[in-house]
Structure formats: structure tokens, C-alpha cells
Amino acid sequence: MAKKGDWVRIHKVVLPAAERTAKIPDDTKQVDFEMWVKGTLQNETAEIGDEVTIITATDREETGKLLEVNPYYTHSYGKFVPEIVEIDKQLREIMQFGGEE
């Protein structure tokens, strides 16, 4: 449960699929135009999925469905990609780093 003052992330459908503009590919036309934004929860209490109001970092009021409390980033340096080691090896060999044989 989230309470007033918590830093939260909300989600909102800005334009349902049926109201989207015509000049977009068919696959995009079939999906909603959505938005995510963060701010301070204004409702006394709320559960995930509730329609809530927030005040954003620039003091704007926004409404939407509560998605996350204390949101954080999970992007990373990614999983191991073996090709990168191959590139490194190849370049060191061509350039003869560490002295010519």
C-alpha cells in the first residue's frame, strides 16, 4: 500500500488506439498511446492499480494508475556478449600491442 507523500510512478493512456492519428503504421494504430511519469502521491492511501493524483518534479498535477512505489532503474551493462572479447583480441593482434614479435 502507498501513502500520501510517497514517490511513485503512474501510467496513463493518453489516446486509446481508436483515437490515434491516421498517419502511423497499422501495428501502432492497434495499440494505445501511453504515458509514464513520476511524482509525489497526493491520495491518503492507494493500492497498485488505483487511479491516483501526483505532483511531479516540476509541480505539475497528473493523474493515472498507480504502477510502482519507490520506482528505481534496472538498466545495466547487459549480459556477456562474447563477440566483444573477439573484437578486443583481434584488435590487439593486428596492432601488436605489447611489442612486435
Binding site: 493518453v14 492519428t21 503504421p25 513520476k38 516540476t58 505539475r60 532503474y73 538498466h75 563477440e83 566483444i84
Partner: protein, 471 residues
Amino acid sequence: MTLAKDYNSVMGRSAEIMKASLGLDFNDFESGSVAFDYEGLMEATGYTIEEIDRIQSRTGVGHTQLLELRNITKLARKYAKPGYGARIFAKDEAANASGSFKDRRAACAVAHAKKLGYKGVIAATSGNYGAAVASQAAMQGMKCIIVQECYDSKGVGQPEIVEKARKCEALGAEVIQLTVGPELFYEHLSVMEDSGYFNASLYSPFGIAGVETLGYEIAQDCKEKFGKFPEMVVCTQAGGGMVTGTARGLIKAGATDTQVVAASIDLTGLHMASDVQFNKKSCTTGHTGFGVPHATNPDTGDVPRSAARPLRYMDRYVTTTQGEVMYMTEMLANLEGIERGPAGNTALAAAFVLAQGLPEDAILVVTETEYTGAGKHIQPQLDFARENGIEIVFGDPKDDVPGKNIVLPANPGLFKVSDIDLDKLRKSLIKRSVPRATGKLTAADIAFLAEDTRSDEAFVKAALDELGVEY
């Protein structure tokens, strides 16, 4: 009275919203037909290049190092004919306050917004420009909103863009994240209208004037160090601001003979507004999906007339591939000891090939580097590609198919560039400009189109004849 905020109502007010948010009436520069007074628009910023340099210097922007990439030059020469292989340099723009050349654009736009008395700034960008505006807003004591296209309909975000959101928030900005689609412009306008903030557009004359110092510094640095201007400058081309601003700066410094080459990653076949294809790209900028439309149809952005008009300035426009740019990013880290990019290394990947066509005593300058971070790095971007079903192989980059595979060059000798036919782009710009005319095209329209396409009146007239358009 509360204004209606539905899609059609907001879009219907776009002209007045843009005027209020820029403190500039673009109608002052319009002829009522195809032509408009481009130089008049640029002069309307009211800043000389010296004043822009002072504005930028106050906030840790500009006067970045011109790094000689000695090992990459040495490697390029292994694949060039004897006596060939220009010295390759890069402007280390990652050293700017927020980590990219975009600080130059933002410094100028935010300073102008502050001078005009706006309380905040807003920008629509999924790229480094967001961090640049956020950084400048923080330094100049203003509020900041960044509007990003970030996710597909499954809520999966491009790692590169997610990192940029994190950075904007770290610098105190509010970030509005959206799914794929041009309706971003509606949300952008709507927030601009409600907030009354300044539109720190990438395409405003303030932004482009900010890039002029980059070209100016390159010309001056080279003159000072080598006693001559560079033979070639290579710019990554996306929205066109880099090419336009750099070339204008070079010209202002007197480097009128320097060849300006634009470079984009070839993403032919991927539709930029496609929900499904959004996460099939492995680089989110520096590609033809932005580069070609912004060259041939510059006036489609968030300002009535774009100050970024790359076709006016490019001598050549070449493409490279995602695999070459990824390989080059690793090369830069391993051979030069600097971790930068990846997308910002598009011009460097092209430069590696272009240098091989120039004599050894020629100077080739790549105009930028950009910061690297979690998500915005060769490993997470390749990992993300693999998770999205993109095949990653070593081979010949000519076998690259955007959205299907990433072909890492099997050896550095396989790097290539392909030239885009500039006449084709010129004709496309002319065709897209015609609907602005209310009657026959005027002599002023033809002169404008000749300038806008860096061609001549005979070329414009022949293109209009081909289209069956009267003048």
C-alpha cells in the same frame, strides 16, 4: 475559461502555442510562399559567436579537447594504399557538462529562455539533448521537463533511452515517457501550453547557433596546431543540427574549403513509428530514420521552421551500419583508451573509411564523442538486440539487414561507407516544399530552394519541370 485539451483542440492551437513558447514569431520571416528568410531567422537570436562562446564557457560547455586518434589512424593506414590514411582527430564532446555536444545547443536555448523571463524549459527528445537541457536548467536555476519516446506497447524500453531518462532525473528534470508515435507532439504541446515553459527545441535558431562554436573551435584548433584548416570534417547526421551548426561555424572561421561529410547508420526498412519495429533497432539515434527525413523535410519538427537545414551544408552524405558502429566503439575503447558512444561514434566509423581515401598529411576531424553509461554502451545494446531476436554475427557489413541482424566486420578491412545520392535528396526536398506555394512558384522561391538544397536555379527548375509544377 478552461481550454479543451483533447487531441484536435490542442493541435489546432499549435501555431499560437509554439509562438508563445519561443518568444519568436516565425511569421516575421515568411514570404507567404515556399521561401522564408533563413538567415534572418538565424540573426534573430541576436547573439554573436563570441557571445555564445561566453554563455557556454560560463557553464562548462565548449573548448573541448581535439584528440588525435593515433592508433585508429595507424590501423586505417594498414588498409589504405601507400601514402594514404589521413590523421584522424575527434572533438571530445563527452567532456561537456552533461556528456555530449548537445550542451552547446542547450546552453544557448536555456540562457535565452532565462533572459526572456520564462520559469522553465521543455524539450521533446529521447537523446542526449534531454540531459543537456536538464543540466543547463539546473545551472541556470530553471525548471525542466523532458518528453521522451521510450517504450513499445509491451512497456519495454530501449536501454539507451532509459539511461537518458535516468540522467535527466538525476539532473533534476521531470521526465514524461511515452510509447511510440508522432502523437508525442500533442503531449509536448499540451504540457507546453499548461506550463508556459520555453520550448527549448532542438531545431530553434538558438539551438543551432549554439553548435556554431563547435565548427569554429575545430577550424581554429587546426589552424593553430597544424597551420591549416582540416581537409574533412565528419558529422553524425540525425536531426541535422550537428551538420548545420558545425558547417556554419567552419564558414565563420574562414574554413570554406573544408569538406563537410554527414554520416548516418543505415536503418533502411525499419519504420520509425512502428510499435513492433521500435525495439528492433540497436541504436536509437544517428540513423537514417532521422537523418534522411530531417534532410529532405526539415520543417516537420516542433517549430514552424527548422534552423537545422543540413542539405544546405553537406558535401557528401554517407551511411555505415550498426555492426560497424558497435565495432568502432570497441576499437575506440581498446585502441585509444576512451569509452564513448556508441551512437555518437557513427561519424567515427565512417571516418575510418573516409580517412583511407585522403593522403597521410590530411587532417580529418570527427566532430563529437558522447558519454557512455549503463544501457548506453555496446554490451547492453548488443545484449538487448539478441534478446529481441536480432542475429549477431561476424562477417561482411554489406550483408547487414536492419531489424534482422547486426554484422560485426570480420576484420577492420571490411569497413565501408555507401554514398547517398544527394541529388535524390535535393529533389525530395523540392517536392516537399511545393505545397507551401499558394500559386506559381516565384523567383524568390526558386532562389530559396537552390540555397536550401545547395544546388542552383537550373537544378531547381529542372526538378520542378519533372514534377509538372509551374513557376
